[in-house]
Structures are given as C-alpha cells and as structure tokens.
Amino acid sequence: MAQTLARREMRLETSGTTTTAAVRAQEAIGAGISIREVVKRYGAFVAADRISLDIEPGEFITLLGPSGSGKTTLLNLLAGFQSLDGGQILVDGKPIQHVPVHRRGFGMVFQSYALFPNMTVAQNVGFPMRMARIDRETTDRRVAETLEMMRLSDHAAKLPAQMSGGQQQRVAIARAIVMRPRVVLMDEPLSALDRRLRESIQIELRELHQAIGSTILFVTHDQSEALTMSDRIAVMDAGHIVQIARPAEIYRRPQSRFVAGFVGESNLIDAQVLGRNGCVLTLRTPGGHVFEAESRHGVSGDSATVLIRPERIAIHAAPAPGTLPATVTSALFLGEVLRIEVMLDDGQRLLIRCPDIAGRELPELGAQVHVGWGAADSWVLS
C-alpha cells in the first residue's frame, strides 16, 4: 500500500515537471551549457580529450573541424547517446550525465534527417509533444504554428518519402524545435543538401534562432556554414578545441596554422623577425624580401609564420613602394572574383583573389606583376 502511494506521488511529480516544461517552452529561453574537462575514449583512441567549453544561454555555437576531430562525439555526449569517461556536463548549472536521453528535453536534427517513414509530416513534428503527453489541442496548435514557421503548412499530410531533401530537413528542424526546447543539437544537418538550398536554409536557421531563442549547438565541417550562422565557432582538431571565438576573429586572427588552413584560404609565409616598431613587426623571408606585419607578439630574431588572406593582396602592373615582383602562374575567372596564383622570385607562391571590377583584366600566364599588402592585412600566427 505504502509502495503504491509512493508510486502515485512519483507520477504526480512527473506530471508536475511536464507542466513546467510546457510553460518553459512558452517562454522559450535557451539554457546555458557548461562542458567541463570532458573525456571520451574508444579503446585506445581518445575522441574527446578533456574538452571544456562554456556556452551562453541562447547562443548559436558551431563545432567546426575535420572528420575524426571529435565534434560529433561531443554532440553525442551532450545528447546522451554516449556516456562520459570523465568530466562533467552542466545544463543551467545542473549535471546531466545521469539523465537518460529521452528526459533531457533537447531538440535534435540529424544529418540523415531521421524522419519516421511511417508517420506523416504532422505526426513527425508532433512526436515530441505526444511523448511529453501534452494534450491534443495544444499539440495540434503548436504543430500548425511550427509548420507555418518552416513554411511547411501545405505538406502536413504528406509522408517523408514524398518530399524533397530540403523539405525533409525542414521537417526535421520543425520536429526539433516544436517543444521550444532549451537546447537544440544539430549534427551536420545541411551536408546532404545542394549548395543553393544549403545557403537558403542557413539564413532561415539564423532567423529561426533569433525567433525561438534556444541555445543551438551546430556541428559542421563546412567552414563557410560556420562563418555564416554562428555567434561563436569552436574549431576542433584531434579531440581538442583549438580555438573558440566569434567568426570574424576566427577568420582574421587564427591562433594556429591548423585554424588558418581549415577556415578560409590562406597564404602562409615563414619569415624572420628583424625588428619591432610599436605594433608593427618588420620581417624578412628566406628569399630576402622584407615586409611589415602587425602583431603584439614577437621580438627580433624570432621566426614567425605570417598569414595573408588572398583577398588582402593587391596586384599592380607597375612597381610601387612596398610591392614585390612576381610572375603569374595561374589565372582563373570565377565570376565575382578573379583567382590568381603568382610566384615571387624566391619561389614563394601566393594565392590572390580580387573582385571583378570595371577595368580589371585577367593577367596573362607568365606576365610580370607586382604584389603588395599593408601591415594591417597580415597576421602573425603565435
């Protein structure tokens, strides 16, 4: 008898949390996530090596890295599909590692969409509401709202197999946000779509994020996707977060060769520091060319790697102060930009992208040109 009572109390408690969850869904506030020293091993392979990361409530954060860098592992740990081998994950200050997947109350979008093929679009989107035992009326209303938001209202009665890839992914997103969860996890959700569709859904996702206010954790290996959508990007490599910063910061001031190479195209020049004048270093390439770069680090005698983004290099027909002579080795017209490769006389190759503006012609192969950049256009990797 006492047991039955205790059980009944437990049920009451459970239904209590369901109500609060529903109320919270109305308010739609993202949760803060704190990942502390998280470790995950597969045999001898360390997929996540003491990763720490603090995510602000309502932030759109992207985990960016090549395959095998541990980004999906981190997402799966957060979702609860895998268990931690060490460390802690806190959501709104509470540890969640012992909460089973289905009680975490997150939304999730999968690379393969993972729509239930036996349910219609409306049933798929309503699935989390049903599982939370929310009444039929609220469910129907919320599903309709969400479908409207994703511009899917006309497709409510269709089966997933009857829709295009882009539509299916919008259904998957609708299912992930229908509960207005505090956290939405996205595992390379756009990688199966073609480029044009990907770009339009990127913008949609960004707007959606602003509308619902959930914390979004987005995993991708596509750097332009990460740059477009994120509040912050965490670049991952070999089970570590190697840099975390806002997109512009990541692009303009990468902390390492890896980040510079992985995000955007880059020219890297190895050089020796000759001297410092305030914020400006004077450097010399092994071939003897001298140029300037801004940096707070580095003293005379150090060797340094200098990053110059291709669009920061200017190309001139005639020599000017601070320019270096070069030979054109490749020239391609890409539409909005020209992509030109040149070789300095010391053998250093440089990639240049310049906008297709009036009066600019594609240089001939083998033509002698002069290239240059300002001290502020370069970045010394620490």
């Binding site: 997947v101 289905h102 009680r103 999730m108 993972a114 729509l115 599982m131």
Partner: protein, 591 residues
C-alpha cells in the same frame, strides 16, 4: 571496333536472339514440364469423380479429414505466433550485440537453418525421450520419480515445429531490423520517447513488414509440415499432410488422394495470394522489388496506405500503449533483460539438441540414453561398415551432385535473365521460379509420382535429381539474382566502352563479382537435395534408398545411435561447408 560493325544494320531477329530474356527459357521450360504440368494434372485427377466435386465433398464431410484440416490450421497459426514471440527478441539480440558474440549468436541461429529438418526433429526426440537429458535432469533434481511422457503429444509437436521453423522467422525479422536507419531510434530518444515508446512507436511499426513476411513463411511451411508432426505427435495430432502420405501407402482410390492434396495446395496459395496482394510477393524470397519497367508513383502507394495507418495508430493508442505504460513502471533495464533472456533461451533451444545428438553418437549403449554410460566409436564403425548405409550415402551424394548441377545451371541463367532483361511480366516469371518454395512438398511429391510412373523415372538417379532441382532452382535464383543486382552495372559498361566483348565483360567483370553468390548457390542446392526426404518418399524405389530415407525408416522402427552418427556427420558437413565458404562469402559482402 571497326566502322563496319558500327554501321552494320542488325536484323530484328539477331537482336531478339541476344535478349537476356532468352536465358529464362531453359528454367521456365524445365519447371513447366516437371512442376506445373503435374500440378495441373493433379487438379484434373482430383475432379475426375462422378461429378467434379465428389472427392472434395468427401474431404469436407468426413470428420477425420475436416477436423484434421482445422487442427492443421490451428497448429500452423500457433507455431507462427510462437515464432514471432520468440523470434523478435532473438533478432534484436543479434542486432544489438557486437563482435564475436554477435557472430556466435548469428551462427547459432543460422546453423540449424541449414541442417535437415529430419535431423533436428530427431534431436528433439532424443532430448525429450524417456531416457533423454530432460527427464534425467528432472529425476536427478528429485522433481519427478518416473520419467515424464514428454513426447507424442500436442506440446511436443508445437515445440518441435517452432524450433525447426524459428530460424526462418529470426532471419526474416533480422533483415528488417538491420535495414533500419540507426538514427531513427536516436531521433525518437532525443524527442523524449522512452525505450518502450521507441519500441512501440518506431521499431515495431517499421519492422512490421519483416514480422509479416516471417509469420507467413512460417505459417505456410507449417501448413504443409509432415516430418516433425509425424515423429513428435501422438494419434491426436494428425496434420493434413500426413493423411496424404498415409493414403498414398494404401491406395484408396484414384482422385480422393489428389483432392486432399489440392485442398492443401489451394489453401496455401490463397494464403500466399492474399498476403502477396497486401505486402507484395517479394516476401517469399525476402528480396527487394524488381524493377518492372514502370516505377510505382509514390503518391498512389501513400494513398493506399493512409487509411490503414490511421486505423493501426488508433488501435496502437487505445490498446497497446496503455498496456506498455503499465510495463513502463517496471525498473529500468527491464526491456534490455527481456531481450537478453528470451533471446538467450531461444539460442539454447536451437543449439542444445544438436549438441546432445553429437554427444550421443559417441555412446556405448545400444539404446538412446543421456548422458552415455560409456564412450565408444562402435556406432561410427557400424555406419561405415554397413553396406546399406554406405549405399544410401553414395546414392545421396550422387543425386545431390547431379541435382545441384541442374539447379545451378538452370537457376543461374534464369537469374541473369530476370535481372538483366526488361520484359513484361517479369514479376510473374520470378513468382513462378520461386513458387516451389511455398508448395507443400507432400503435394509436389504426389503430383510428381504420377508423371514419374508414366516416364519410368521412379527410383532413378536422374529422376530424383530432377525432382530435387524443383526446390533447388528457387534457392539458386534468389541467391544469384541478389548478387547480380549488387553488381555495379557501370563497371560492365566501363569494360564494354573500353573494348570488351559481352562475353569478355561477363568473364572479367560479372563472374568474379557474383562468384561468392554462385558458390553459395552450389552449396545450398547440394544441401537441399542431400537433405530432401518428402519427395524421395514418393519417388524412390526399394532398391534405391537415399540417406534421409534410411534415417526415416530407422527413426520410425528402431531409434538407435547410428542415427546420431549420421546427424553428427551432417552437422559437420554443414559446418565445414560454411567454414569453407566463409572467406568467399565475406569477400563479396561490404563491411
């Protein structure tokens, strides 16, 4: 390639002679003569009474037959239900385990599938016998004083048939479970569905086709079952197929016997036909849809599905879900343990009989008892020195080799024709090629008997080999068609573009790609003939006995350990075949 060959206009006839559809001709002709015609003749004879329905009226008015028909349906239905209940956890268990454990469990299911039904039934007789291990164990534990009569009742029939047919069910369900996208379960979990809800809302609905296919295959096989109920059943457990053989022994009159067979055949065909209309006839061979030229528009498929899905969901919500929610109060991990315990029990039930038989073959006792009082090889000596057994063994070997040759040469070419041609009625032809799988062997045996009498083929090597090939061809067609469909046609096109003639393309690209499938087809066609009993019962002569026939006679008259020796050798043959084929089979499979 010269200009001349490019420019030469081809006559329509020459083109038609090159059509891959012609590859279907030998197999279709063979089956038409030796399989379709006798069945048609069976119908004719069954209606040869004073009026066409005389014999049928007798079938349905004599309580002996009528009650046996109802009993057969009941037993088949129960067995199919038991197989679903026990097979699902086992399939899940295979799916959820990894590495060496998965291989062991899968082997424990697949191995019995390839061992002759006769031998597996015999193993159950040993296990359940008065001096069998179960009675011995119970006595040792002091639970009983005198041995229980575990054999020759309805329980032993159900147990034996379920055990014999379970692998079929497990494989059918496993195929649909393994095909599921793993992220679907994850998506359901992430959407807040607990393990039970994941099972009820996602796993079960999506694997329903596999369950349905397995259920029907088991039900249809059980309908025509003959060996197991004969050996394990008592007087009250007569199944319909048994009447046909008993009547065949004491010729009661032309026509009535055929009517019995026709009734069994028609029931089988109706069940398969209705099921095929609903879920597609592909369930028979467990394959995907064949491209029949015109793809079904998705919209129509959905329109057909929509109302049923609605009803199913309502039922699931009203009945199943509240029940499952009650179960949800059980402690966490309960579901996982259910799967492990039920699956584990099934594995034990499949493997233990075989092991017991292998142990008994080394017994010194001259009767069946377990554990053996002493060890010896005397039964092996007896088997290898007895000229009757050796003759039967040689006969079986010869017939199986001949039959495998017929099956593979006809079946493999037919598979080529099915996969590579673009003719109409392709599905119908495929259905014809695989249909011997579902025709009760008793019916087939009876219909062939008349033909073989006319042609003087009764008791001949060629006759038996050809009869066994009727069942061998479907096996070959299914395996080879599947491996042909897996061949990337762009590879063949690539070879052709670079100057390979069609024959060279086949030799250098296609053949190596389907070689593993072909090897498997040879092995299974051989095994099918080597194990075949029911057709042989009808078609052999006293002078020419096969190994299964000798076994059958011995099991019925004197249950001795020589049978255990033969069973052990058969198990070794299957294990050896699988081990030999393994490198070839795994090479063809993507990881």
């Amino acid at each position: 390639m010269s200009d001349a060959t490019l420019a030469a206009p081809r006559t329509p006839l020459a083109q038609r002679l090159k059509s891959p559809a012609l590859l279907l001709v030998p197999a279709v002709l063979f089956l038409a003569v030796i399989y379709l015609l006798p069945l048609i003749d069976l119908f004719r004879v069954s209606m040869s009474g004073p009026t066409w329905s005389t014999h049928f009226e007798r079938v349905f008015s004599v309580p002996l037959y009528w009650e046996s028909l109802v009993r057969t349906m009941k037993i088949a239905f129960t067995v199919a239900c038991l197989c679903v209940l026990l097979g699902y956890p086992t399939a899940l268990l295979i799916h959820r385990t990894r590495g060496i454990i998965q291989i062991l469990i899968a082997t424990a299911v697949i191995l019995p599938y390839f061992i002759a039904i006769l031998i597996r039934t015999y193993a159950w007789m040993v296990l359940l016998g008065r001096n069998g291990p179960i009675n011995k164990l119970l006595q040792m534990l002091g639970l009983i004083d005198t041995p229980l009569a575990l054999l020759f009742n309805r329980g032993s029939v159900l147990l034996g048939m379920t055990a014999v047919l379970l692998p079929l069910m497990v494989l059918s369900i496993y195929a649909s479970v393994a095909r599921l996208d793993g992220s679907l379960t994850r998506a359901a979990l992430a959407s807040g569905a607990g393990p039970l809800a994941v099972f009820w809302r996602v796993l079960l609905p999506l694997t329903l086709p596999g369950i349905g296919a397995g259920f029907l295959l088991v039900f249809v096989a059980a309908l025509g079952f003959f060996i197991t109920p004969t050996l394990l059943g008592g007087p009250g457990d007569q199944m319909f197929a048994m009447h046909i053989t008993q009547q065949a022994d004491s010729i009661t009159g032309e026509g009535f016997l055929q009517a019995l067979a026709v009734v069994l055949l028609v029931i089988t065909l109706v069940v398969v036909g209705v099921a095929g209309r609903i879920m597609g006839f592909e369930f028979i061979w467990g394959g995907g849809k064949l491209g029949d030229g015109k793809p079904k528009p998705v919209a129509t498929a959905a329109r057909v599905q929509a109302p049923r899905r609605g009803l199913g969901m309502v039922l699931a919500d009203l009945l199943g879900w509240p029940l499952l929610r009650l179960m949800g109060r059980l402690p966490a991990g309960w579901g996982r343990w259910t799967v492990r315990i039920m699956g584990g029990a099934v594995i034990v039930a499949l493997v233990v009989p075989i092991i017991v038989v292998m142990v008994i073959s080394f017994s010194k006792a001259s009767y069946l008892t377990f554990p053996p009082p002493a060890w010896s090889l005397r039964w092996y000596e007896k088997f290898f020195s007895d000229s009757n057994w050796m003759n039967a063994f040689r006969n079986s070997l010869l017939i199986a080799l001949l039959s495998a040759t017929i099956s593979v040469s006809l079946g493999a070419t037919a598979a080529m024709g099915i996969v590579r041609s673009n003719i109409r009625y392709k599905s119908a032809l495929m259905l014809l090629l695989v249909s011997p799988m579902i025709v009760p062997p008793v019916v087939l045996g009876l219909s062939l008997y008349a033909l073989f009498l006319k042609l003087g083929l009764v008791g001949t090597y060629l006759g038996l080999a050809a009869a066994h090939a009727i069942g061998g061809i479907p096996i070959v067609v299914v395996i080879v068609a599947a491996s042909l469909q897996a061949v990337d046609q762009r590879l063949e096109q690539g070879a052709a573009v670079h100057g390979a003639s069609p024959l060279t393309v086949f030799r250098t690209v296609t053949l190596p790609a389907i070689a593993p499938g072909l090897a498997a087809a040879v092995f299974f066609a051989f095994l099918h003939s080597f194990d075949e009993l029911v057709l042989s019962l009808f078609l052999s002569s006293p002078r020419m006995k096969t190994l299964p026939l000798m076994l059958w006679a011995d099991i019925n008259y004197q249950l001795n350990p020589v049978l255990a020796v033969v069973s052990t050798l058969e198990v070794l043959l299957v294990v050896g075949g699988i081990i030999l084929a393994r490198p070839v089979l795994t090479r063809g499979k993507p990881a």
